[in-house]
Each structure stands twice: as structure tokens, then as C-alpha cells.
């Protein structure tokens, strides 16, 4: 109890100083000048490429308006659905794994929180491709995992299927789920949980009425941060999967020979992701209001 009250006053001190600083800076914050470099960056590297993708998607090779490239892109519908499915499953697994972990981390002392978060980040200091490659070595036939399973008499192929792709995705993007969840959860005041317990909530109700509603913004940003890259990433399926490509691989390949069809696929993917984001944000707002 004592340590809790100390951290609480610490926190309130922090907030007041922050608030003071903010009001002092308010006049400076109003100026939009510091944003100019970023706005320029955004114009050159976000807006213009988007316009170009849209332009290519809606024109044919002679530069006339046409929907031909979307028609060509229908060939890849199955791959598209497969990728969305893989992304959904990976996101769900990430959420299930990350949620309890993030919560227990957020209840640790400040010091061990920093330490654990750092350990979560360490694998991300390594190159993305190397990490996927490590999974290839782990899952391959007569690899370490396969040998262990064989000693128990289980003989299955671990690599070259959708399961391996999902494992790779979950490993790759799990930190992106844990970090936003942890950020939100570490802000949940312990006294709120204690208050609800005092008022007679059992463990499940504490979760349902206090922890979960307060962590929704973290879930939202975590889910978006995992779903969006898993749906569009490439190479993971090429290394861990079998002959089945994912939509990211297809876009990469198609772009080598045909910008128009490649842009059309990219456009469809962007629309789906945008819709997903709008939906998630809406959902988040409602939860927060309730």
C-alpha cells in the first residue's frame, strides 16, 4: 500500500509538471512551422506515391483510363483471401499471447518493466530476414524441433505449410502487439483494481469491468499494428511456406513486369486495410465512451 501511494503521488507530480510545461509551451505549440519538414516528407514520400499507385491502377499501358488492371488482378483473389486469413489468425494468436503477458509486465516494478521490455525488443535489433531464416533452421526436417518430436514418435513436416507461416508471422510481429498493450496497461492505476475488489468484484469481473475497458485503445492499436503488416508482408511465406504465395509476394512479382496490375492489387489491399482501420477506430471510440 505504502509503495503504491508513493508512486501515485510521484505520478501526480509528474502530471502537474507536465501540465505546467504544456501551458508554457502552448504558444509555441500553436505554430505549425516545426511540422514543415515532416509535411514535406509526407508529400514527397506518401502523397505522391499514393497518387501514382492510383494513377497506374486506373490506366492501361497507353495511359488511358481503364479498369483492365483490376480485371487482371482477379486472378489473385484466392491468394488475397488466403493472406487475409493468415493475417487474421496471426493477429488473433498475437493478441491471445500478448494480452496476459502485457498485463503481468505492467504490474511489475518500474525497473523490471524496463528490463523485460528491453528483452522483448532485443530480437528486433536483428535483421528481419535473419530471424525468419532462423525459423527455417528450427523447423526444418531433422532440425532441433523435428528431432525432439521424433523422439516422442511424432513424425510430421513442420515447415512448408500455412502453420509455419503463421508461426513466423506471430514471432515477427508479437512485439508490436505487446508494446501498445503494455503502454496502455501500465497507465491503469492499481488503486482502481483494488477499489473494484473492495466493492466485491471477483477476478473475472475486475477484468471485465476495469482492466478490459481501459485497455481497449491498446488492443486497437496493437491489432492494427499486427494485422496491417501481416496482411501485406512478403518473403515470410516464401521462406517458411510451401508453394503457396501471399499477396505481398504476388505484388512484388507482378510489379517487376506490370506496374498497372501491381498497382491495382495494392489499391485493393489498401482499401481493405483502410476499411479495417476505420472500423477499428469506430469500435475503439464507442468502447471508450461506454
Amino acid at each position: 500500500m505504502i509503495t503504491n501511494s508513493v508512486t501515485a503521488t510521484d505520478a501526480s507530480n509528474k502530471y502537474t509538471t507536465l501540465r505546467q510545461r504544456r501551458s508554457e509551451n502552448r504558444s509555441a505549440m500553436k505554430s505549425k512551422k516545426p511540422a514543415i519538414p515532416y509535411l514535406g516528407w509526407m508529400l514527397v514520400f506518401t502523397i505522391i506515391p499514393l497518387v501514382m499507385v492510383a494513377y497506374y491502377a486506373f490506366t492501361d499501358s497507353k495511359g488511358r483510363f481503364s479498369l483492365e488492371s483490376f480485371e487482371n488482378a482477379t486472378v489473385y483473389s484466392e491468394v488475397f483471401l488466403y493472406s487475409l486469413l493468415i493475417a487474421l489468425i496471426s493477429t488473433a494468436i498475437c493478441l491471445v499471447l500478448a494480452y496476459p503477458l502485457a498485463f503481468s509486465i505492467s504490474r511489475c516494478s518500474q525497473r523490471s518493466q524496463t528490463l523485460i521490455i528491453m528483452f522483448l525488443m532485443v530480437p528486433m535489433w536483428m535483421n528481419f530476414l535473419l530471424r525468419i531464416y532462423a525459423w527455417v533452421l528450427i523447423l526444418q526436417n531433422y532440425g532441433p524441433l523435428d528431432m525432439i518430436l521424433r523422439t516422442f514418435g511424432i513424425d510430421i513436416t513442420l515447415i512448408g505449410n500455412s502453420g509455419a507461416v503463421i508461426v513466423g508471422m506471430v514471432y515477427e510481429f508479437l512485439p508490436f502487439m505487446i508494446l501498445p498493450l503494455h503502454t496502455v496497461m501500465s497507465k491503469i492505476d492499481n488503486s482502481l483494481i483494488e477499489a473494484s475488489q473492495d466493492l466485491g468484484c471477483n477476478g473475472f469481473n475486475v477484468f471485465r469491468k476495469v482492466v478490459f475497458p481501459l485497455s481497449v485503445p491498446g488492443i486497437i492499436s496493437g491489432v492494427t499494428m499486427v494485422f496491417v503488416p501481416t496482411a501485406s508482408t512478403f518473403l515470410v511465406a516464401q521462406y517458411l511456406g510451401g508453394t503457396q504465395f501471399m499477396i505481398g509476394d504476388v505484388i512484388e512479382r507482378v510489379f517487376q513486369s506490370d506496374h498497372h496490375t501491381g498497382s491495382a492489387i495494392a489499391m485493393v489491399l489498401m482499401v481493405v486495410i483502410l476499411g479495417f482501420l476505420i472500423f477499428m477506430n469506430r469500435f475503439g471510440d464507442k468502447e471508450a465512451v461506454n
Partner: protein, 425 residues
Amino acid sequence: MMKRISAFLLLLLLTGSLLLTACSSGNTDAGDGEEDVRGYQGEVNVYNWGEYISPGDDGTLDVIDEFEKRYHIKVNYTNFETNEELYNVLTNSNSTYDVIVPSDYMAARLREEGLLEEIDYDNIPNYKYISDRFKNQPYDPENKYTVPYTWGYVALVYNTDMIEEGKIKGFKDLWSEDYKDTGILMFNNSRDAMAIAMQLCDPPIDPGSPSFTREDIDRATDKLIEQKSVLKKYVMDQVFTEMESNQSGLAPYYAGDIYTMIDNNELLDYCIPEEGSNLFIDSLCIPATCKNKENAELFINFMCDPEIAAANAEYMCYGTPNEAALELVDEDLRDSELFNPPADYLDKCYTFTNLDDDIYSYMQKRFVEACSANAEVSSVEKKTVNPAAVWAVGAILAVIIISSAVIVVLDIRKAIKNRGRINKL
């Protein structure tokens, strides 16, 4: 405060020691490299495939160093990965290369587009060592622009632990249900994969023909889709680890690289495909934008020197068109059927020709479609479009667009209402 200062000092120390090691290694380089003493009298810019020259480590001859020592000309050596990359660099940027190494079909394209400089063969006396087989090729019928550097062909590699020795006969085994469980690999590159499929079509299509049609490509695509039900994976460089660590049983690849794989894994054996195969010839050429033509010719002549060519062949395990060099090559390598297949086999092989842009991009497109086709469904129906999937994607899109529109409209109305309320207050 003390902590911060000590951390800072530590950082300083670390960077300092890094710098020191960098400096000292720089010093030793200059020491045994004699760079400063040499006094170069010119330079030559060479653009070659990766790992396509004897590098000078592990007891091999350092070819570039040897050239610099002999002629006092600095070699600026850079790498490309695909013929298409070479083409883009030559056409798009102000390239300053003096020697390039395109493959047959790319040499043809560069020649047709006027991007190659004629070579003065009087300056290349070592050209006399080049075997007649590799002269007068369709990509340079009058022998004006190219000097053959290496050649190779596509062969099969298999694991004798999983497949009985001598069982593999040709490319048709890549479609065989019998070897499915060992893991069959396939080229992840449209040109090579399509060529193999074309050979197996009934009736076969000549992959070396300059004039095959979209229908021919469609037939080859069907053949590739048919293969999907037995296939493990499409690979390029991954083939090395897959085969060397006994992950897969059977794969097509370039003969020189198969030689390397067998060197690294005794269980592997090769098969020279009975159907005939793709023979490729990479040539030394001078681009039209060249600035040091004399040095370039000097370099090309040097590469045709039998000893140098032999050193390169021993390192790469790719065939050498240089007859005198073949005499000098290590006996084991020379006698290997894989490295040096009988002449009548080479007569059965075909060489790629330059394709129309239109046909080439159609081929790439169909290959991606084959790669992304669903193995179970498509191999029976031989279709790449699944109407159910198209409808599903359409439905998802429609739902997303409509619901997003509704959400956005609702939000805007809410915002307007709120503003009205605030104004009232």
C-alpha cells in the same frame, strides 16, 4: 552526474578504439597491397555477375590483383544480379562501364539496340583459344561484339539417400508423384521454369525459339500448374541450403552450382537431363558508352589468357570456352561429366534468344499466376481464376466501402450537430 560522465567517457573510449582498429587495419592493407607504389596509368570499370571471378582467397588466384600488377591499370569491379538489372543500369543511368558480362539473350538485345561497341579482335590475341563451338552464336552471328567468358547448362541434382542412384533421368521426373515425398524444388524464375515446362509439353515447344506465342506460354503455364501438386517450393539461392542440408530430394539448377553443392554434400548426385537442356553463354562485351576501350580490350584479352581462364573455371566450376584453359584445369574437374558434358549432348541443348517485350512480360505474368494458383483445385481444372474467390473479395470490398462510408457520414453528422450545440451555448 558522475555516472553520466563515466558513461560518456566509456563511449568515447569505445569509438576511439574502433577508430584505432580501423586505422591500423587500413595501414596493414596499404602495407602488403603496395597500392601506393604501383602508380596506376589508367583504369577499367568492370561490371560482372556476383562471385563470377576467382577472388584470391582459399588459395585461389586473385585475378583482379594479377591484372593490376601486370598492366598497372586500376580495376573498378562491381556486381549485378540479373541480366535485367544490367540492362536497366546501361539504359537508365550514365553508366561508365568498360567491360560487361551479359548472357546470350541479353547480349542479343544490347546488340540490337546499339548498346554494344565493336571489339577490335586484333587487340585480343588470346581469342584464338576460344572453341569454335562458342563462336558464331545467334546472339552475335558475325562475332563482332562478344568474347565468350563462361558457359553452363541446367542440370538436375538429387539426394541419393532419398532417391536411388541413377533413377533420375530427366526433367520429367520433376513432375513425378514418386519423388513428391522427398521434396521437389523448382526454379523461382519465369524464364528457366517456363523453359523446362515447355520441353515437357506435348508436343514440346522449343524454348530457344524466338517466336513462341502466347498460346505456347499458356500451355507451359498449365504444365507448371500441373506440377504444383507434387512440388515443395519455388526457389533460387535457397536451393543450396535445401539440397546441402538434405531438406529436399530433387531440384533443377545450373550445372556449375550443382558441382559446388555436391562438393559440400556427398549424398548428392547429378543427372544430365535426357531431354536436352538450356545452354547459356555469358560473354565479355564492351558497352557503347565505354570510356577506356583500350584498357577494356586489354582486360578481355587477359581474361582469355589460359592460366587466368583456368583459375576462374576452377573457382566457379562453370564451363570455360577456352580450349587451352581446359587443359590446365584440375583433372577431377575436367573429367567430370557434369562440368564437361560430351559434345553431342551440347548439340541437343538450346540457347535462349531475345524475346519481344510483350511476350516476355506475358511470360512473367503467367508465371506469377502459376505460382499463386491453388494446387489442389487448379491442377484438375487447369484454371487460375476461381470465381468463388473473386466474388468473395468483391463482397468484402463492397461491405468495407459501404460500412466505412456509413461510419464517416455518421461521424460528420455528429460533428456538425456538436458544433451547432456549441454555437448555441
